[in-house]
């Protein structure tokens, strides 16, 4: 990892369990990192959430998407949660999302990707 990525990991790792996907969406997912979902869903939750709110795959863990929904409701920008987040660009793993945000690299989506808001 490059120095900036190391710094980012040192800050966001303990705070959010950051996995360094390099295309951070914390802002729109209730400040809850969706890459901690075992299925790494960017548009969760899946249909496997247990009645007590725990994860289908890791019963000892609360569904990260449940946490995200609850936190998002307390944020002024709740609506962003309902946006369709594009597929992960797997080339960005391990790079700094801060740099990718500044350079707008994290906004690049496949040419055939189209997000309709309605």
């Amino acid at each position: 990892m490059k120095p900036l990525a190391l710094v980012e990991h040192a800050v966001k790792g303990p705070l959010f369990g950051c996995r360094m996907c390099g295309q951070c969406v914390l802002h729109s997912t209730g400040l809850t990192c969706p890459m901690n979902c075992p299925k790494q869903l960017r548009n969760g939750p899946c249909g496997g959430v247990r009645p007590d709110g725990s994860c289908e795959v890791k019963p000892e863990m609360r569904c990260v998407w449940l946490k995200g929904w609850e936190r998002a409701e307390r944020l002024p920008w709740t609506e962003e949660l309902h946006e369709l987040r594009p597929p992960v660009d797997n080339r960005l793993w391990g790079t700094s999302s801060w740099r990718n945000w500044l350079t707008k690299r994290d906004k690049q989506v496949p040419a055939g990707w189209e997000d309709r808001k309605h």
């Binding site: 299925k39 449940l66 040419a111 055939g112 997000d115």
Partner: protein, 311 residues
Amino acid sequence: MSRLEDALASGRLVLTAELGAVANELDAVARYVEPMAPYLDAINATDNTSAHAHASPLALALALRACGEEPVLQLVCRDRNRLALQSEIVGAALHGIENICCLTGDDVTAGDEPEARRVFDLDSPQLLATARGLSEGRYLSGRPLEPAPHLFLGAVENPGAPPYEQRVARAWKKVRAGARFLQLQLCFEPERLERFVAETVRTGLDERVWLLPSVVIVRSASALRFIDEKVPGISVPAATIERVERATDQQEEAFEIACDLAAHALALPGVAGLHLISFRRDAGIAALCRRLGIPTRKEREASGNRHPVPV
């Protein structure tokens, strides 16, 4: 336009079912679907159900068509990356298969090969948007796909799993991404299904998507307990399991419960039909239809049947 799309668009009552692990011979597929087929508009060709490997969904879809049935190709995100998912859809389109149902999929840990690598390169809303792109003549990369295949896209949503109050919002996301029908996950709590459907109507989602709640026909309390404990995202109330357990004829009691759930779901405004699941080759689906007074598909097509005769 596929037969399923046509039936839904016409406003007729629509029934679907599914074909899963049973089939490794064409004859077996024919035998499996034969008792239920007269009532069905389409049958799902499932994709490694509960994370157990079986004949691929495209192979099952082709087998169903060879039996004269209309397939719905299921695709889950667990086993294929975005290239493989697109090739499966384009491959299906090559064979004239238009109905595609996009799911996240149970995790590998739900199956008999929990050591497998899980993929989830896309999630179900992303897969829907990708499939819609294919139907508009482009791969995800932007490369043209000519001619653009006609696809009838659907998805699944689970009214019976937390966060209950957010499930319709997630259904909306899938509809915006391209879903035009929703086969709802099994729900043994009628009031949860009722709330979900009411919310779709309140938010106008029922005008954008056709809803098909699922009902399963089982034969025993142990089958219900298995579903409750082993199938991700489905809970069966203890009272329901006990009711079947205490009955002198478990199979009959379980059938009664299925009929009650089916009748309840069909009575909800906003529901277009049912997705019926029976794990065994038996006449359960046909028996349920007869009990609820649902005519066969051909009769529905002839009469434009909308509402089943009340039980």
